[in-house]
Subunit: 304 residues, 2 copies
């Protein structure tokens, strides 16, 4: 069986978009529920300004609370917005960081108050330091298909950025459809080109479900050879105050589809449903995966 890795970004991308702010101990409990289901890659927080993103305050406490989990081989990644974030994260013990690159200038400005080039330069600096420090770096290209401000993003721009950061030695290069605007033909085309040029080993994808095409996009990418995906437990994410905003593809839906297609994720669906229920309990707003009604019946039927 071919393995596919799923990285749960719910405790970061999901929770930062929820109205209810969870305490670090609650976030640790959610991560632990994911680990119990067999998940080995989790994005557990962000070292960003607690004023700008209050839901991510106490990321150091989350990392401290998970110290044992990491001993079991799990990779806990934290998002960092800049070099200062890198210093804070590594001081708190982070061994894996995610830095954001951009497919558009407007999004770089809106998200990080930098130009696209400044974000690239900052990431290059972090990569250099991280090699010395033995820290793992994911470079995520946000709005890799379309920007809410600047519109469609040229695939050639994304391929150029991806090529440069793979060359610079990023451990992972993540293609992110931040606003859920991509269609599976675009995804198939871009991912096939990237895998053709660089191989699949260091490339991953990150999809949102705004236009209901999340799973179609995962399928399109897996057909191109992509073997690592971000997803969010319970479909956490989006913003309940923005009509139509939608979260990441739900981890349970992605794992179900991959397993049914014959891939090995190493993740237990029943354990994932427990984590999803915990996410819903803690936040009060997580929608749950879209196949959750079916999954509940299925897991009951087979005696799990």
């Amino acid at each position: 069986m071919v393995s596919v890795t799923v990285n749960d970004v719910g405790p970061r991308d999901g929770l930062q978009n929820q109205p209810k702010i969870l305490a670090p101990a609650e976030r640790v409990a959610l991560v632990r529920a994911l680990l119990k289901a067999g998940m080995r890659h989790v994005e557990v927080g962000a070292f960003v300004s607690p004023k700008a993103v209050p839901a991510m305050a106490g990321a150091d406490e989350v990392l401290a609370g998970l110290a044992n989990g990491e001993d079991n081989g799990a990779v806990f990644t934290v998002l960092i917005p800049n070099y200062k974030g890198y210093e804070l994260a590594t001081a708190a013990g982070a061994k894996s960081v995610c830095m954001v690159l951009y497919g558009s200038d407007a999004m770089a400005q809106a998200n990080a108050r930098m130009s696209r080039e400044q974000a690239e330069s900052a990431t290059a600096d972090i990569l250099k330091q991280a090699r010395t420090d033995g820290v793992r770096v994911t470079s995520t290209i946000a709005v890799a298909f379309a920007c809410p401000f600047d519109g469609p993003v040229e695939p050639s721009l994304v391929e150029d950025i991806a090529g440069r950061f793979l060359e610079l030695g990023t451990d992972e290069l993540c293609i992110a459809d931040t606003i859920g605007a991509a269609n599976p033909r675009q995804v198939r085309s871009l991912t096939a080109s990237l895998v053709g040029q660089h191989g699949p080993e260091r490339i991953s994808c990150h999809f949102h479900d705004t236009r209901a095409m999340g799973l179609a996009n995962v399928f399109a990418a897996v057909e191109s050879g992509i073997r690592k995906f971000d997803a969010s437990i319970g479909g956490l994410g989006g913003c309940p105050f923005a009509p139509g905003a939608s979260g990441n593809v739900a981890t349970e839906d992605v794992v179900m589809m991959l397993e049914q297609m014959g891939f090995d994720t190493g993740i237990d669906l029943d354990g994932l449903m427990h984590a999803s229920e915990l996410a819903q309990e803690l936040t009060g707003t997580a929608p749950g995966g879209r196949a959750s009604a079916w999954l509940k019946r299925y897991l009951k039927r087979t005696g799990n």
Copy 2:
């Protein structure tokens, strides 16, 4: 631009699974809303026992009420369960019928009280008569991937049935994932094989969204060259009394995805949203497409 045809089965597959029974005039109004959006293929009813399926009573009145619409080039298909159904349908003026074949014996028994072979024999007889009568026939292979009673269906069986009925001259051969059990890898494999053997002209696909993989399956099939899909306005279908049951893929989601991938459906999304709202108004239970929140914002934003 490559054309893809979408056949709305909401007025049949959708409405027959709703708790609220609509009068023929209401069903005509729903079909007219679909025509207004540019839809040219609609499954408008079924000539089945009104005792067994009360929601489909008065299919003759629906056909009569649509006589003008057909003059504008629309294809109105009605489902028939057997030869008697064919006679009733054609007596009521039907010019296009859909007959059901089966991927399993248990489903044939449960749905039509026939063996799989009996359903095939009845369909062959109908096909012969329909050629004489100038009536269009769609042969749908139900439970083409999995049966709720007998489990997984061998692709070779479906290929065998499909080959025989294409040979017999069916105007359309529809591969139906009746219970929403297929994954996109299975769909890709089966449809690629069928298109490779027979060309895409007479093959269509019908997906349900039970496991949230409906759009992924449409994408998988379109990648194989399939150019006609069933879908249901507002995601009508499933049964509100059966937890986890889910309707057909929503027409508005399918049209949106196809159009965004650069295909031409000839269907107007704004008109489709009006039809979807009418479906919700009439039934009180139609969920609406899964991307409807996004679509509403999008259509408003672009001034439609």
